[in-house]
Symmetry: C2
Amino acid sequence: METHLLRTFVAVASSGSFSAAAADLDYTQSAVSQHIAALESSLGTALLTRRPVAPTPAGERLLEHAGAILLRIEAARADVRRVVGEPPGEIVFATTPLAAATRVARALTQLRQTRPGLAVTFEVARRDEVARGVASGAYHLGLVDGIAAPSDPLRLPDVGLLRTSAVAQEGLAVVVPADHPIAGRKRLGLAALVDARWIDAPAVSAPLDDLRAAVETDSLRAALGYAGADVRTLLELVAAGHGLAVLPASVSVPAGVAKVPVGSPRLVHRVELLHGQLDSAAASALAELLDEG
Amino acid sequence: METHLLRTFVAVASSGSFSAAAADLDYTQSAVSQHIAALESSLGTALLTRRPVAPTPAGERLLEHAGAILLRIEAARADVRRVVGEPPGEIVFATTPLAAATRVARALTQLRQTRPGLAVTFEVARRDEVARGVASGAYHLGLVDGIAAPSDPLRLPDVGLLRTSAVAQEGLAVVVPADHPIAGRKRLGLAALVDARWIDAPAVSAPLDDLRAAVETDSLRAALGYAGADVRTLLELVAAGHGLAVLPASVSVPAGVAKVPVGSPRLVHRVELLHGQLDSAAASALAELLDEG
DNA sequence: TCAGCTTACGCCGAGCGTAAATATG
DNA sequence: CATATTTACGCTCGGCGTAAGCTGA
């Protein structure tokens, strides 16, 4: 199974067309057809239906692996380059929206100010994009957040070798309208709220999927999805009674909404710093900054 | 980065010789040399020193990825075959030594008796070998054990897509000589024992590495390593005072040794069943058996 | 009918082996 | 000097493009 065949297969499956994939990859349509034929004959089974072009069950299985394999190959290249190449003059730094709000991010902002010679670029992306980007070398550093049991690592998409060098964690809070019956309570078990109306705002709050996994229930149902990345908007949605949301306990909330710390189950909002191999200078600079934090 | 180049690279690095790798892979020594040269030029850096043949720093980084990539490719093939191929007439079943001792394993032994038409082969291997073997299709089912926080999954080596379909978990116990000061105690915090002399018997007890990760300390030091796979021998080593060991709480111990349940930190000995994609018949048969268990 | 995939076919170069050259301990 | 890797060189075949063929909406 040669890598160029996998690459073509992924391109065809994702575009749904041999000719489109050919254009993407700078092959002729004929070459793409031959690639797919070679893969299919090497595996002894059809991988795609034609007209319409869609993966067969076997193709679906392969697809699940192919992306990961190609990504891992990119990660390998990036990792080797990090050992050999010049240290970059600019650091590209990706974070998930909530992670950026923590003291860790602030520390890195300091880095940018105290070392004006070193350009630092921030970029906000989804969690798996951050992980992929760091693995493949597109980003030098990544900051991701999520919900986990205390001192447990986050479950990141399988992306190869990623190192976690620093974390911050804090409790969770449920954000409710100020006039909600539970608004005055000091602590709260999530179990009491399984039937509540939730807002799923994966970009900006704890993704409901994380919560479901942690609570081990399917009953957290989203009444509303919010795809945006602005916390204030989310809080206004909560204030307007569209549903509840789970956020890190330290979030500051405006009038109109109240936050109630989550007491059980024991869960934390956790932030992890992702990186590939760092040279010792970069590593110690970071460690220093994160200590001050 | 073509797969055959990676394969050659891994073979050369692991054998420490171009000519040996060539013999392994049925190439000429010249072809191997060209493969390495191609990889090195494609990555723009030396990967191996010659005389002696050993990975450079960049080579080490690549090596860390290369094995995983090749394994994942095997896993992809195996996964596709599982969808397409005939269901196997024989089931090859691999377990880690301790996992085999659980009720789950007993249930699967029943399977073998109640369905004499279906041959079942047991094989005992190390945890990562089981995971690798299941991923690559060498084994149909795998049973692995390890230590984790309650209801946490085991941390398996990165091996691609593995499904976990059933688990058993139980507490841990420290096994000590009968005349040991703590032998009479009802519960025990591991922290009290960090300075004790431990026996590291990765094949047969909880690997110390798991414990270290769970306790988040480096101070668990092994006074003795036992590479064998026989629990009784390990217990005799404990009785003779060579050190302590951590085992699942249900292990039955002979006279001369005592077991003390571990109360904190909260950890469990956990058994997971690993498999690739199962057809629905196999899956339901298994589920049934494991429920009875 | 025709858009889009497959097949036929010829050409080029990647990659293999043989064998000579080179390097190192 | 012996052993092991590299380089030179020729050949074969894998894999690409062009173009003709096929097929289902």
